[in-house]
């Protein structure tokens, strides 16, 4: 298969059911909203070692937030529903509440909720104050900087983790150029985040290892520097491979992000675009590139 002359491998991305939530962080200035947001989603690339996957969904202007201040929308995902509360409590408590002038609100309408603010309120040491507006409860927690405002409950829903595309370029520069273009296009899609640094994974992994103490190791089939030493999926021309992992609140949003990402990545110097899977036996959702690009392919 080809798109704009670039080879698209007839394969699929294998994704998993995750549990996701959307958090809106606001602050007195755009600068502090962003600082808090970046801290909150830091070290949240892969569930394997970080316990949670997270990313910035989009910036919000002051007329788009509940308290009329500049904000940032964040998405968080975990494999288990239960661990979402534990991880969120830690992240919001340690990175958002500690950032100057911030407040934190639920951004996801859902019947299923976790009481994040309802847990963090105890930091107020008995001086916390509850306010209830339209069945939404907020907690005012006295802090050294003034007052931290957080919503009691955050909506959660089933989402999709591990949607992905893999871009094989002729060299590191062309692969990065294509991946950056893909990420820029994917960031315009609501309901998805790309949790890795800059949205791009430079060291994708496989779920096996030669070492018994290690669950995951470098994805040898896609490592260009060892393609003659081991079984490889790469052709001779490939000099660098980058992956973009997508976590989404829905199958539709994930598929849309993959589609715009592949289309944006189809630039000069890209040898092939493919996707990662484990044979289809492990994941809950398979995203076939042929289906995603239906109607857009050259052949």
């Amino acid at each position: 298969m080809h798109y704009q002359g670039i080879e698209i491998e007839d394969t699929f991305a294998e994704a998993f059911t995750m549990y996701g939530t959307r958090v809106i962080v606001t602050a007195a200035t755009e600068k502090w909203a962003e600082i808090a947001a970046r801290e909150a989603v830091g070290f949240a690339t892969s569930i394997i070692e970080c316990g949670i996957e997270a990313g910035i969904e989009k910036k919000l202007s002051s007329d788009q937030t509940l308290d009329g201040r500049p904000g940032v929308s964040l998405l968080f995902f975990t494999m288990k529903e239960k661990s979402l509360l534990k991880e969120m409590r830690k992240r919001i408590g340690q990175t958002i509440m500690t950032a100057a002038t911030t407040a934190c609100f639920n951004g996801l309408d859902s019947d299923k909720k976790i009481k994040v603010g309802g847990n963090i309120r105890y930091f107020g040491d008995g001086f916390q104050i509850s306010k209830l507006y339209d069945d939404r409860r907020f907690w005012r927690i006295p802090i050294m900087g003034g007052e931290f405002l957080i919503e009691e409950s955050f909506g959660i829903q089933k989402g999709i983790g591990g949607g992905n595309i893999i871009i094989a370029g002729s060299n590191s520069e062309t692969a990065l150029n294509a991946a950056e273009k893909a990420v820029a296009a994917m960031r315009k899609i609501e309901g998805v985040v790309m949790p890795f640094p800059g949205g791009i994974v430079s060291s994708g992994s496989k779920v096996t290892s030669k070492y018994s103490f290690l669950n995951a190791a470098t994805n040898t089939k896609y490592c260009p520097t060892i393609k003659a030493q081991t079984e490889s999926n790469l052709s001779e021309e490939v000099g660098s491979v980058l992956e973009i992992v997508i976590d989404g609140l829905s199958v539709e949003a994930t598929a849309k992000a993959m589609k715009v990402g592949i289309k944006a990545a189809a630039v000069d110097g890209v040898i092939k675009i493919t996707a990662g899977n484990y044979g289809g036996d492990l994941g809950s959702e398979n995203f076939y590139l042929k289906e995603i690009l239906r109607g857009d392919l050259d052949d």
Binding site: I129, K131, E147
Partner: protein
């Protein structure tokens, strides 16, 4: 939408007359005029609805000209200032009154909405647990309060008074919101337990006396009890949400300057738990 219209008859059993002159009115209890009770009645059942005036019991049709059908929307016209318990204990539907209403309007209601184009008497929304009451004019004492001997006043719901309010507004209030556009009498928020009260006019004496928790926001300076302590002047971010909620959900006009300007935060009553707060807007 199907509506039930009730127009108070000029001649009705509650009038006390001397010759042709009306010299007084007997209190009338209309706790049966509730949308949730009426909506499923037949027209003849509605006509027979009992109303107590003094020691006598009358039928609805004796007091009102009835138009439309039994419905969740009730529109009432006339001076009902001697009518008590209108909408009391209602849990859904709407009552709209063109004229004044007496005591206990919407007391103990749990849902629905009451709108009054006029003024209302004492105990408005007392011990209500939900719903909305808006009054364009003034209202009496004990708005959203607890009845004598009871522990909790208003516990959820929303009350708006376009004019002035009497004494003991929000007495023992537990949850919900009360907005007074005009002035408020003495002992606003006395023994308040939680909830929010906003007064855009001036307040009387002893605001927050004995309050445990809760928030009273006032837009004019007031004489505070010595059992309240000054903490800080700042803009509490929660007011951004509170004001937007009042504006968007209830159409309350909030002065632009009230957003992002400072409020003096006093806490008390220190003779009680001391966790109540009075926020006083610093106008300049």
């Amino acid at each position: 939408m199907i509506k039930l219209k009730l127009k108070l008859k000029k001649e009705n059993p509650a009038l006390i007359k001397k010759g042709n002159k009306v010299i007084g009115k007997i209190p009338v209890e209309v706790e049966n005029i509730r949308p949730d009770l009426i909506k499923d009645m037949s027209f003849s059942e509605l006509e027979q609805l009992e109303i107590r005036a003094g020691k006598e019991v009358y039928k609805l049709k004796k007091f009102f000209e009835i138009e439309g059908k039994p419905a969740e929307e009730i529109e009432i016209e006339g001076d009902l200032s001697n009518f008590k318990y209108l909408g009391a204990k209602m849990n859904s539907g709407n009552i709209r009154v063109n004229g004044d209403v007496g005591m206990h309007l919407g007391s103990e209601m749990s849902g629905g909405q009451i709108e009054v184009e006029g003024s209302a008497g004492d105990w408005l929304g007392a011990e209500m647990t939900g719903g909305i009451i808006t009054v364009s004019g003034d209202a009496g004492n004990y708005i959203g309060a607890a009845f004598r001997g009871d522990k909790l006043g208003m516990n959820r719901g929303f009350i708006y008074i376009g004019g002035n309010a009497g004494n003991f507004t929000a007495n023992k209030m537990r949850r919900g919101e009360i907005v007074i556009n005009g002035n408020c009498g003495d002992l606003l928020g006395a023994q308040m337990i939680a909830g929010s009260v906003y007064v855009f006019g001036k307040c009387g004496k002893r605001v927050g006396a004995g309050m445990k928790r809760g928030t009273i926001v006032v837009f004019n300076d007031l004489e505070l009890l010595p059992t309240f302590s000054y903490n800080i002047s700042y803009f509490p971010n929660f007011l951004n949400i509170a004001f937007r909620h009042l504006k968007n959900d209830y159409g309350i006009k909030i002065p632009d300057q009230a957003l992002n300007s400072e409020y003096k935060r006093y806490t008390g009553d220190n003779t009680e738990l001391g966790k109540g707060e009075i926020l006083i807007w610093k106008k300049d």
